[in-house]
Amino acid sequence: MKIMSGAVAINTFREAVRDRVLYNLVIFALMMIGAAILVGQISIGIERLVIINLGLSAISIFGLIMAIFMGVGLVYKEIEKRTLYSLLSKPIYRWEFLVGKYGGLLLTLGVNTSLMALGLAAALFYVGRPFLRSDVSIVVAIYFILLELALVTAFALFFSCFSSPMLSTLFTLGIYVAGIFAKGIHDFGELTHNPAIEGTTRALYFLLPNFHNFNVIAAAAHGESVPFSLVWQNTLYTTLYGALVLLGASAVFSRRNLK
């Protein structure tokens, strides 16, 4: 029932807003302003490059911090504070609740990222170059960041269903780092020419979430275009993997005895 999840999602978003989470945008804005002003002094000729690199990296990092720190509390907080008791007495499936919490955080991340994107655009504008056609790749890079965040959030939510925020943070960070290095591990395995190691690293590569897929920041900075098929492929990847993780979370949560 979309209504149930939707209600939970909107409420989760409302909580984020009222908890003043969006204030992080202020820090981001200050950073972009500082960068825009100083970049002229530091590096001539590559102002655009630096602003885009910095901006996209910051969007990614801020988003990541938000996804993890808010994600690990999504379910945990409701159990600890027992707000879940009243909620689950309503005709709502536990998985609907999970999907709702997920959607709410995703919405928060989406709003946050969009506002940061505007900040980036403003900084670019200030630096003096009008928007080029190739800037479409910046939009794609931001979209890919969102896809990445969606996947990280799914993991955070999963861990939130059964472990404390501290452990969940460690686990989620662990998966994220492993996912970043997945390609490196795979390449390393190939270099060893040892079939056992190659096989293992290959298997790991396909099992781990490959966050490398989403990183087109360098391309965007250089104004190179990103192939369109990569866009829908990455979207599909996030959808499939995200669904997998959410399904796992639902399975774990459906059997949990609440305290």
Binding site: F206, N213, V216, A219, P227, Q233, Y241, L244, S250, A251
Partner: protein, 294 residues
Amino acid sequence: MSGPKLTRTVSAAIIATPLLFAAIAVLQVRIDVKMRSATKEKEELLLRSGDALKKLSFGYDSLMADIYWTRAVQYYGERVGKKGANFELLAPLLDITTTLDPNLIVAYRFGSVFLSERGTGGLGRSDLAIELVNKGIAANPSEWRLYTDLGSLYYLRLKDYPNASAAYLAGSRIPGAPLWMKLIAARIAEKGGSIETSRAIWSELYETTKDPNLRKKALEEIQGLKAQEDESQLDELADEYYKRFGRFPSSTKEMRDAGLLSGIPVDPAGFPYVFGPDGKSHLSAQSSVEEPNP
């Protein structure tokens, strides 16, 4: 036993998990294809200053050094042997690595060989290699191996025998340095370039390093030198043949039948040597052995 054992959700999860993973794997393969064609192997090094990076490492210097070292090795591995390969980032990568961890000896040794190597095997900049090794010596004064690298750079690449001999000699004075360094120093000073000296130098590198890339390179060089030696011997015998029969041999078989050879000599890869129309012996075209670069 608590909890409904197999809720619908749990069953769905159990069934869907392997299916989803399979779909994801298939998708990943397609993504890899796309990404490979899109990124065009563009390696980037935005920050080339080792000192700046050191400051940004917040104390995790050696970890960062390891990361950059890994990058350097992968950078090399992706390009070695490929036509039109561009190794220009190898020098800054190694420079950053050694600034972050000045005691990473293998990085200096790696740079000494592959920064100076010409063609598709390296950057071809012996000056940068010498700079790197000197940096290593300054930070690791008791590491005699770096003196051998310096010496071999002068000897093999620059054919600068006085400096080569001096480097070996200086290194031989370090406590723990092996005796052969003195011997090599003397031999270079006396004879200049020779195949035995070159082979000794590469053999010592092969013995004293664990890095697979360096060992591979050393082995190739040693095999190439052996081939060179074999060929000069064959050429001498070919001259003998010419004196006897008025023409150069067309194959080593002929030389064996003439009693000049006791068998069919093969190169270190196992392929028989062949003769060109000019009467000089060469490696077989199928052989994996390569003659050493001049």
